[in-house]
């Protein structure tokens, strides 16, 4: 009799498949290649494997998931690790809950084995100091019968006298704290003033530091940069997957979820707000000492208590949620609309108009963001189409509008965003690159975590593959197979692989595997199940999942589509601008810092350019968001950018189809790449439509 199976999907990794009914979630995760932390080896004592069972129907996977689809709650085991509130939300221990029917499981960051490598690290860019929040410490005379002016007027008179601040207003939440604060430290208070206009916080005594956080909300990943608003220092960064991924990979799928599901917009909005709160929480937790649970004596009752482990020589800032007084958020237009609960439907239909272009100052509490009660969130302005505040962030960080040379800036994400121009003229556009370049939808694609191939080199003579994985510092050549522990391939590896396959003649310029040339090469084979041609990057013995890690013909096609869209976008913008070549190319995005510029040019991610003038600029969108946090002039600049950059809708350009098609080949069907001469063998670079022909070596 056939064994009964159920469908299980793990989020955010996206791993899915059928598993035998009755196995627990940890077992399922192993079968499907999604790692959940399980330190105790499923003896139900470590509490590391907390996961959440999602509730509801998920159109994207066509499954109905419910908390009732796993075995019932076990109070004596699970209550130790999961409080009633989280139990309500669907949290369970992976080793306890056995699967009875289809489920969608969310694995929180803490429970994932092999933490994601934060590639959205902050970069050192120049920012002028002019934060929106300024601190004013003032000493007041306490009231007596001569002067019985009220608290507020007393304070504002003082601020006008000492600092020349006039016409200040105050938020009710802050006003409620005023009398207490004034009297707590003998009428000396430190006042936080937002935009020289509104008092948003009053603290007793003299306070010298205040904090803010810049948040980059990407379609797939989000990052937060916790900054000291008085020293401009980045204190900590935190990142997470966008919790909306379960509703669909790209912005269109999210908008469709809203259009087809009643209450869908609210669900997605609530999810990302909850995500942002946890992102902030994570960032401030880094400023506190680590905590350890105090072991209870046998039979001892009572709540779990923690003790701090203080490392010597470390100064802890101990920042609390209330200390976060300012937040800036950058996102693409669809993420903007969904987060703010604005109808995203019109932005999903040509000509894609947003609800609003201008930036917004919104009380954090109105959105449910848990920081200082009276503080504002600054939502970056939108340009046009899907090009939103994240692209404005890139502009703010790179400032092409202040440069003479013509810059091409490519921000690679789930949506590719392009900027071209200089101080005289600037264009922007966006193209659907899809999630392929971030590792999704490829046979062995994965996020940047230990075990991910991040660098690849293929020998042009033997087609042998040398590679590097995250978490192991030596390449394959200098390691033993069992040291590699490969699981898949991540973004930077994906950028490498197409260039290397092409350079080593494994694929022709059209992207098809070069069968004639590969012949009996042991790395090249047809997949027994799918009949698809594939090329082995890492053999089974190098892998920790017991499989050969391959790149399939379909994977190659996926990457080609993404790179073709980017190249075509660049070219159409250059045509519009009337230029033949660009001076500088900057590559931004999660792996902008890891990109190998030579390989980016070899695969033809963008038109020919001097290799020395190609630069990786990291997460420029996040950097721009940080600039807006620390310098309020940048907020005006953001609004100027949003309305003065000319947006180009690529797909309606008359030659789009042809340009897109030609750009899918390596490096391009017809465009010349003089800067690749000497980098790519001549017979490969100048190959005909039927593939490279290696010149005969004369004996």
């Amino acid at each position: 009799m056939a064994q009964e199976t159920v469908n299980v999907i793990f989020q955010p990794s996206g791993r899915r498949g059928e598993v035998p009914k009755g196995c627990n979630i940890i077992e399922a995760s192993r079968l499907l290649g999604c790692d959940i932390e399980a330190l105790c080896g499923e003896t139900k004592v470590c509490g590391k494997c907390i996961v959440r069972i999602e509730d509801g129907h998920f159109e994207k996977y066509n499954i109905q998931s419910s908390m009732d689809h796993v075995t019932p709650w076990q109070e004596e085991v699970e209550a130790k690790f999961i409080n009633p509130e989280n139990r309500e939300k669907g949290f369970r221990l992976g080793c306890v809950a056995k699967i009875e029917d289809d489920i969608l499981v969310f694995v929180p960051e803490e429970s994932r084995a092999g933490k994601q490598v934060v590639s959205k690290a902050a970069r050192d860019i120049h920012i002028d100091f002019n934060p929106t929040i300024k601190l004013y410490t003032i000493e007041l005379k306490k009231p007596d019968f001569e002067d019985k002016t009220g608290d507020w007027e007393r304070m504002t008179n003082g601020l006008a006298r000492e600092y020349g601040l006039t016409d200040l207003t105050i938020d009710i939440m802050t006003l409620r704290t005023l009398p207490g604060a004034l009297r707590a430290k003998n009428w000396t208070v430190t006042v936080s003033v937002w935009n020289d206009k509104e008092v948003i916080r009053i603290q007793p005594g003299k306070v010298t530091h205040t904090y803010g956080i810049a948040i980059d909300v990407g379609t797939t990943t989000c990052a937060g940069y916790l900054c000291d608003l008085t020293t401009m220092e980045v204190i900590g960064t935190s990142s997470m997957m966008n919790p909306q991924c379960k509703y669909g990979e790209d912005v269109m799928a999210r908008i469709t979820f809203h259009m087809t599901t009643p209450g869908g917009l609210k669900r997605m909005s609530d999810d990302i707000i909850e995500g942002i709160n946890s992102l902030i929480d994570k960032a401030i937790t880094l400023t506190h000492p680590k905590k350890k649970k105090i072991k209870k004596k046998k039979g001892e009752e009572g709540p779990v208590e923690y003790k701090e482990i203080i490392e010597e020589g470390v100064e802890y800032l101990r920042i609390n949620k209330e200390d976060i007084e300012d937040v800036t958020i950058g996102f693409n237009t669809a993420m903007h609309h969904i987060l703010l609960g604005l109808d995203p439907e019109p932005v999903g239909l040509a000509p894609f108009p947003p609800v609003i272009h201008h930036s917004l100052d919104i009380k954090a509490r109105d959105l449910g963001i848990d920081i200082n009660a009276s503080s504002y969130i600054f939502a970056m302005p939108n340009e046009a189409g899907f090009v939103g505040g994240d692209n404005v962030g890139v502009l703010l960080a790179e400032e092409p509008y202040k440069s003479d040379e013509i810059q091409l800036i490519i921000d690679i994400g789930t949506n590719g965003e392009l900027i071209l121009g200089n101080r005289h003229k600037l264009y922007s556009s966006s193209c659907a690159t899809g999630p392929a370049m971030e590792g999704a939808q490829l046979a062995f694609g994965m996020r940047a975590a230990p075990g991910a191939i991040e660098r690849i080199e293929i020998d042009p003579d033997t087609q042998d593959v040398d590679y590097r994985v995250i978490g192991h510092d030596k390449s394959r050549k200098f390691s033993k197979p069992e040291e590699m522990k490969v699981k898949g391939i991540c973004g930077s590896g994906i950028l490498d692989v197409l260039a290397e396959l092409y350079r080593a003649s494994v694929i022709t310029k059209t992207g098809v595997f070069n069968k004639k040339f590969l012949k009996d090469n042991p790395r090249f084979r047809k997949n027994a199940d799918t009949g698809q041609p594939e090329f082995i990057l890492a053999y089974k013995e190098d892998s920790s999942i017991g499989k050969d890690i391959v790149i399939t013909q379909k994977d190659v096609r996926q990457i080609q589509l993404a790179k073709g869209a980017l190249y075509a976008g660049c070219k159409l913008m250059m045509k519009r601008m009337g230029i033949e070549k660009v001076d500088t190319v900057k590559i931004a995005g999660a792996f902008g810092t890891h990109v190998d510029r030579e390989k980016a040019l070899v695969m033809g991610l963008f038109p020919d350019c001097e290799i020395e003038n190609i630069h990786g600029v990291g997460n420029a969108a996040g950097d721009g968001c940080r600039a807006a946090l620390l310098n309020k002039k940048k907020r005006d600049e953001a609004n100027w950018c949003a309305r003065n950059v000319q947006y180009l809708e690529l797909t309606v350009e008359p030659t789009f189809e042809k340009d897109f098609m030609e750009a899918m080949q390596m490096p391009h069907m017809t465009d010349k790449f003089p800067h690749l001469e000497g980098v790519v063998p001549d017979h490969v670079l100048n190959q005909g439509p039927k593939g490279p022909v290696k010149p005969e070596v004369k004996s």
Binding site: M252, E345, G348, L349, T510, G531, R557, E657, E662
Partner: protein
């Protein structure tokens, strides 16, 4: 190999190998040697395109190659079509085709359009980003046998439902076909469409598959 077979093979190969000049040359030879132009189109050009579809499905060929094959096919078609004589008794079939409002993608739609061109239909191409009402107006105006709509984005797909309701209300006879990456058989049924071009997640292979079905149709295999 007889002369005709040889010419048909040449047409087929020219399409598969995307050789525009060879295709034009073979088409001219077909006319010179007295091959029935309809057979040359269906068993030469369209048969070639069908093979391209197989190559596309196995990932041997990709979008650029397919589009170049289509270019080659049109080179041959332009030469052969003026010589195809139609039976006066059977009026020419016609189709109104376009990408739906809000959608600016039309690579897939153009391939489907090619299929109708190959079959010698009267094709009224409304282009892309076509307002919902324009589909209805044009369909009523020319009283086409088929209305074909494509959507490449899930967001725009919803507009097709409205068009179907409007057309069916005024002209229940008109057959409606849907296509595009996000469109599934379930969606087509749900929206009340008559036909649906099976999609392997990509409009390209779908367009080509329809050519195959059309060839069967022309041969009277399916009614």
């Amino acid at each position: 190999m007889s002369n005709q077979e040889e010419i048909l093979a040449a047409l087929k190969e020219a399409v598969v190998e995307y050789e525009e000049d060879d295709c034009a040359e073979a088409a001219q030879r077909a006319l010179d040697e007295g091959v029935d132009p309809m057979i040359a189109v269906m068993d030469g050009l369209a048969a070639g395109m069908e093979e391209v579809g197989v190559l596309f499905d196995t990932n041997e060929y990709f979008v650029p190659e397919v589009l170049m094959c289509a270019d080659a096919l049109y080179k041959g078609l332009d030469i052969l079509r003026p010589h195809i004589t139609l039976d006066d008794d059977s009026p020419k079939a016609s189709v109104v085709i376009g990408s739906i409002q809000g959608d600016v993608h039309d690579i897939g739609k153009n391939l489907v359009k090619m299929m109708f061109d190959v079959a010698g239909w009267d094709v009224h191409d409304l282009g892309r980003d076509v307002p919902l009402e324009s589909f209805v107006e044009k369909q009523l105006d020319v009283n086409s046998d088929v209305l074909a709509m494509s959507a490449m984005m899930t967001t725009t797909m919803m507009g097709m439902k409205k068009v179907i309701a409007m057309v069916k209300e005024k002209n229940p006879e008109c057959l409606i076909m849907l296509g595009g990456a996000p469109v599934t058989r379930d969606v087509a049924n749900l929206f009340g469409a008559d036909g649906y071009a099976e999609s392997a997640g990509n409009a390209v292979s779908e367009g080509i598959k329809m050519i195959g079905r059309l060839r069967e149709f022309q041969k009277g295999d399916i009614k």
